[in-house]
Symmetry: C2
Subunit: 197 residues, 2 copies
DNA sequence: CCCATAACTGACGCTAGAGTCAGATAACAA
DNA sequence: TTGTTATCTGACTCTAGCGTCAGTTATGGG
């Protein structure tokens, strides 16, 4: 071999650029030329690393999820009690910073794409399952330690995770009925319902 | 005028076909030719009633929302108590029948499209606001009548509505973590948390 | 019956943009 | 320095599909 492989690094760069375009323009308006420009390469190079636009976007979805999961794990302080952990999970996912907004917009694109592409739900299952599990763990710990008055931790976790997704969508499209601040308050109120006094 | 106008009826037919394509293939894969075929006309006729693909889809989003709001109002029995009304609202929106699944898929497309089209959030605001208000009315009535132990009806309504949206998405993409039945159970458990004993 | 025009058709022009490819470049080994 | 091959380029090909339009059909009024 004449040169050490730059494949992993290049793919990383290109996928990052793809996520940026995905979040700014959406899949429907995603152009390989835009991805190439942002990554600092020619369109030919994008095709050198990814066979098709579909493959590029599929890998970008996976990439975005990996990034987000990694960030969540760094954010979580093992010393926090379960209630604080639940609150921090919501805070960390609030679509308020540029980074979280970008993540959410890519996830939305993933969900819509998953309606018509049978290979995409698997990506969602994998990473979304982890996220759901983190909430469930905290809920069960909260219940066991008597901090939260939860009957069914699974139903609690499903409700909390679902609520976050639904509220985030309204924040993202700038609905007049939901802002990031209001979402934060809604999440707080949700948890407060279960905190033992 | 030589003939009575068929505009309203034709637009209705074409928008209905557009919603069908939107739900089956998504905006990204929507072809005017497919819409025309389903509606039973030529592509020229679609352009005769709608200036552009963008206008067609925008009107289809509006059309879908009107249909759904109409259906909800027919479903709601004024004789029901607030708790039953909240449960029925969730049941009616569960993505289980072909019609509700179709509606949800179109809404998802709307939300994603609204990320990049400033004219779409207005449609969401209008109809989504009505829907949110119906939940809020029931929550306030339930609180006032002592049937529900709710501190903040607004936070309750936001949480419930958000939860429904988030859970529906996972059902729609056939997530292994959420089915329509499980969503029903999650909604029931959510309400049960507030029912006074 | 005939006219006016609304309604409809479908072939065609045109463009955007995905994917190809022949060649240029550059990094490493020896 | 030179050979080898990974990496990269960007002009080009090709196709899908939007929107146009000249022409056709249908309908109701007069």
């Amino acid at each position: 071999m004449a040169r050490p492989s730059a494949v992993a690094e290049r793919r990383h760069e290109i996928l990052d650029a793809t996520c940026q375009v995905l979040s700014e323009r959406g899949f429907r308006e995603l152009r390989i030329a835009d991805v190439a420009k942002i990554a600092g390469y020619s369109t030919g190079t994008v095709h050198y690393y990814f066979d098709s636009k579909e493959e590029l976007v599929r890998e970008a979805f996976r990439f975005q999820y990996e990034q987000s999961v990694g960030r969540r794990e760094r954010d979580l302080d093992p010393g926090d009690d379960p209630v604080a952990r639940l609150r921090k999970l919501a805070d960390g996912y609030l679509p308020s910073s540029a980074a979280t907004i970008r993540s959410w917009r890519v996830w939305l694109e993933l969900w819509v794409s998953a309606l018509g592409d049978a290979s995409l739900p698997a990506i969602n299952n994998h990473y979304y399952g982890d996220w759901r599990q983190a909430v469930l763990d905290a809920a069960e710990a909260g219940k066991d330690q008597g901090l939260l008055n939860i009957k069914d931790p699974v139903a609690f976790a499903d409700a909390y995770v679902g609520m976050l997704d639904g509220l985030a969508i309204q924040v993202l499209i700038h609905s007049e009925h939901m802002t990031a601040d209001r979402m934060r308050a809604t999440c707080k109120a949700f948890i407060d319902n279960f905190v033992t006094m």
